[in-house]
Symmetry: C2
Subunit: 192 residues, 2 copies
Amino acid sequence: MSIQPLIAHFERYIPLKETEEQLLEGRVTHRQIKRKQAILQEGFPCRHYTFVVEGCFRMYAVDKKGTEHNLQFSAEQDWIADIGSFHAGRPSALFIEAIEPAVVLQIEKQDLYFLYTNIPKLDRIFKVIVENKYVELQNRVLQSISSTAQERYLTFLDQYPKLALRLPNTQIASYLGITPEFLSKIRKDIAS
Amino acid sequence: MSIQPLIAHFERYIPLKETEEQLLEGRVTHRQIKRKQAILQEGFPCRHYTFVVEGCFRMYAVDKKGTEHNLQFSAEQDWIADIGSFHAGRPSALFIEAIEPAVVLQIEKQDLYFLYTNIPKLDRIFKVIVENKYVELQNRVLQSISSTAQERYLTFLDQYPKLALRLPNTQIASYLGITPEFLSKIRKDIAS
DNA sequence: GTCTGATCTTAATCTAGTTTAAGCCTATTT
DNA sequence: AAATAGGCTTAAACTAGATTAAGATCAGAC
């Protein structure tokens, strides 16, 4: 299986040379993930940057009461990793789990660092990728401190219309920070 | 006035060469900001990456009702900018304003891009800086979907003890996404 | 085919947090 | 010294959203 989707992803930012693509080839691992399979579990360090080729993942935390809270969804052409845990090598407080059967490309820490050193433009590419994800997250924080649950749900539908169709509502409720029951009520209110 | 604080900041990540420091020198602007002075206003593109040497800023949005919502505080040794607006050149939806008299170092877009090209390690440095800020924000999102206002306040005190002493409680309430009245109640409950 | 478990909904009750309004304190302006 | 304004608190009435519980629906496993 090829790493072509990843190369295409990088080249949306900066074109790569043939030699650079070959360096990548040797450092990227292809993997199939089953539905509900975890690729990161609380208590373990996050060992990979994971690029989603196909399928959909969620990143979540579990609180003292055992309730799960979805921090992030990642589908095709998106990255998912606990960045803090990955770089520090510290145990993660998060889980990452496939919501659908998935195909991913993964890079381990030592390999990523090798690639940063040998393909300097990757520093810039990832800088831009993280900047974009930062802006997304900032908008989410703004929503969370300024909007009602209904507004947040409508924004979610607007921003991720495809995801909204693929995900069970319980997962969406967890992402929005509300109970499934209240999301159900919101949906009823919107429909009428 | 010197750009030494900025150089020291960068060198916490990677040492710079003499020539690189000189390149920086020519592209960084030193500026004094008065209390309550805005360095970014809604409707205008964000023109600078701003590095805080002294003082404290808040970034906020204003909703339809006219209520302000604090997204971020930035004090000494921290950056503040609307990254999305800065890179896209689009009008910002945010304000950035000094809470205390401040001293800053600013870099304009064309200068930052010049520096990225001529000091390649800056790509890596800013990649790491944004990664760290991303992790911070992610923790905040997690808190906002999983914790009560009291827990969020206690975490804030724990994480930014100095900031908590410098800021009026109204600003902290706005950051936590609650009313000043409710923060007052929380403080009373904690004290007893 | 049916059993099991996950998903969705509705409704009653409860609680965290808002709104409104008032009063107090301190700092700054006149 | 008085006047104004921003920040902090208290309390009563209100509302967004949680909790509990029950029933309906649907999908995959056996």
